[in-house]
Amino acid sequence: MTRTVSSTCPYCGVGCGIVLNVDEQDRIRWVDDDPENLSSTGMLCVKGRFGTTFVNHPDRIQTPLIKRKGRFEEATWDEALDLVANRLLEHRGHFGSFASAKATNEDAFLQQKFVRLVMGTNNIDHCTRLCHSPSVEAMLQQLGSGATSNSYIDYEEASCIVLVGCDPGSNHPVIASRMRRAIDSLGTKLVVVNPRRIEMCDRADLFLQPRAGTDVALFNGMARAILDEDLADRPFIEGRTEGFDAFVSAVGETTVDECALVCGVPAGEIRAAARLFARPPARRGLPEGLVPGSCLVWGMGITQHTQGTDNAHSLLNLALLAGQLGRPGCGVSPLRGQNNVQGCGDAGCIPDSLPGYQSYGDAAIIPFEELWGAGLPRSPGLKATDMVEQIASGAIRAMYIVGENPLLSEPNLHHATDLIRALDFLVVQDLFLHETAELADVVLPACSFAEKDGTFTNSERRVQRVRRAIAPVGMARPDWEILCDVARRMAPGAGVDPAQFAYASAGEVFDEFARLMPQIRGISYERLEREGGIQWPCPSADHPGTRYLYADSFPRGVARFVPVRQHAVAEETPDGEYPLVLNTGRILYHWHGGTITRRVAGLMEQVDTVPVAVHPADASVAEIQDGDPVVVFSRRGRMGGRAVVTDAVQPGNLFVPFVKLQGSAANFLTNNVYDQESRIPEYKVCAARIEKKRERKGAFTLRS
């Protein structure tokens, strides 16, 4: 007999409802979709449906591990926790922590409470730094909130969808399905902007293929076209925005034709895209009296550049110019990559604000200090990429890393590995002994999503329950419980009341989180049980939650135009030695660095070597055939993969997913240079060279 447990998918940020079918041996036998779930409406993708077997993989860490004389030895929880507590007390003042966008809101909330209250620092961050920090930065400046403004249902009510620098078919498959449903059944227009031809291009009305790093030129060109053709939403601009004149004068500096020359997209296509976005023709079945809306949806193609924040500004300017915010069927959506990257930021695992994106000023911090009974640090902490770089200066000497593997996700991995190796003390808390964990002094075994209670918050701000379906594997424990144990041991030494870290359940942690974050104050486990997922803002217990933001006002009052200009396309551009542009991203059958999906046999059966997409013209120069083993070089490293010769990439470009397979990963090649404001690395552009892997001449033959 199997039993069923409703939960939330642990992969991408779509947050699909899953129903785990568990057998008597506590193994997940089948994952069902959940038609009642409003985010996924009965859909799943291959990873959610078939990708949860990692939970019972034999590689799961079974016990705490302590490194002695360079080797890990199994330890009891008490031994490991005592050691962590004692060593971390010595390291207050030069400590940093990475939280996990894979763990629950409760785990994240507890981690930032531990870091701020016990370690006395705001040096806490997570992988949002590497994906959407420029989007959040730009949205906070221009709108006053860093979250997706709309809901997935808006893609099905829009008259036009503009997909920029993202590949939902691979990375957010259920969102791609919802978009296809709109396009197929309602005639919704689709504009795809991507240097690479993605699967959604099959249904696109327009496909713009700009040169890497020229997004600002393209979107300023679209803005100029909207202004030239008088398609701007004047009442919206006058009533709800500021800074319009400065924006107009910046955009006025270049004509559409000049922008076209820079980005390589024909001027006619820029104008056509501008018209479709600003004034889309009404989709079939648009209710009488509603203005046709456009959804602006983007991914890492916008953000992972040294001008990532400028790119995001240029997109938000377009949304303001066309008034595509605050109504059904429009809005701005940065697609989130991890199951709880929205929640991890909401819970305060970012260096520049408290839970709920509240600043360190008196008004916001005092309720925290009163509830927690001690003073909190008030200066912004180091961002994730800076924490790693600051190991070199000695500003960071100890780290506590939960559910993240920076030695696959950081750029220029040889450099990052040297830095992590130089730490005095490293604690890693995770499911598997991955590249970063191998370098740790103490490894603590954490529960997977299937072994604990909690909540995830998805890309449309929907807080959803995660429910314990199986017993913990080995001695694994939920992250929040482990952090509480460390914190209670350290509390007396840090002048904190140990009772601050005594919770009977994940629900109690959530209650404290909801009390301190006004946007979710009205959400409780009891309501989630009764109503299913609820979208924040939900300020009170009788509030139904919010489908789309900015209906009447912006959190900062009026929205602000931020003029931006196209600068150098990238820090490193092709030259004679490295003649190609290397672009990185993801594929359907693996998830990010692959720490999890490498441990799902079926996914490995689908893709077991890194595919390197190369244009036929470049392949022929290098004498590479489709399927050949190849080596890709940059100034920082090399990696092996298998050639996929395809005109989906432009001549002069390579595309490589950043999953690590057969020991090879794109991040050995990527460039550790950063966007000034958000400190995101430039994963999307570096100079590279491709060669066919040389046959090794048999050195010797074994005698029979």
């Binding site: 069902d32 979709d33 009965g42 799943l44 296809r180 689908q606």
Partner: protein, 200 residues
């Protein structure tokens, strides 16, 4: 509406009313999560003296509906005998997440074996790492096709051929692995037999 002698609200389809009243009725091609297909005829009921498919008949306007009349049960048994004849594997075998739907239909209606020639399709596709397809258990209800087309909007599978040669396929001469299938598994979740079943 009067349903099996009880007064019930006539909302949605007759099948909706029947299920809402807690009455068991086979509906092998109707998935809770998918639009009406109306292909399998296993939900036939007697409504105001006519035999109709409950899934595609609106309840509004029907005065008397019986799922348990001698005539309705007899005709459903006949349909299930035809259904069973499509499967060379007796009862469709267990192993799919929804295969209880067909085995419960057979158990409750006791179709007599050997009433019709058994369809001979024996194609099996084991190419996908996550699930397999077995034609000998397929009843051509089209739930898998509908899930692929109208839920996920992928369109990787269809029904090719007619009559005795009809079969579910990811394309002529193409295996699941070679097709545009993204392995989302919605077809497996929809299958009321074990024609599509998860591996392992």
């Amino acid at each position: 509406m009067n349903l099996n002698g009880r007064s019930v609200e006539a909302a949605g389809s007759l099948l909706d009313a029947v299920l809402a009243a807690g009455i068991a009725l086979p509906h092998l091609c109707k998935d809770d999560n998918l639009p009406v297909i109306g292909a399998c005829r296993t939900c036939l009921v007697e409504a105001d003296g006519r035999i109709v498919a409950a899934c595609s008949t609106p309840a509004a306007g029907v005065q008397e509906c019986a799922t348990d009349s001698e005539r309705a049960v007899r005709i459903r048994r006949g349909v299930l005998e035809l259904t069973a004849a499509m499967q060379s594997r007796a009862g469709g075998a267990a192993g799919g997440p929804r295969s209880a739907e067909s085995s419960e239909a057979y158990a409750s209606h006791a179709p007599r074996p050997g009433q019709h020639d058994v369809r001979t399709g024996t194609h099996a596709d084991l190419s996908n790492p996550f699930f397999s397809f077995h034609e000998d258990a397929c009843i051509l209800c089209a739930r898998c096709v509908t899930a692929c087309q109208e839920l996920q909007h992928i369109g990787a599978i269809g029904i090719a051929g007619r009559g005795h040669t009809a079969r579910v396929t990811p394309g002529a001469g193409v295996s699941f692995r070679e097709s545009i299938c993204t392995s989302c598994g919605s077809c497996v979740a929809a299958c009321p037999t074990s024609a599509l079943r998860p591996k392992g």
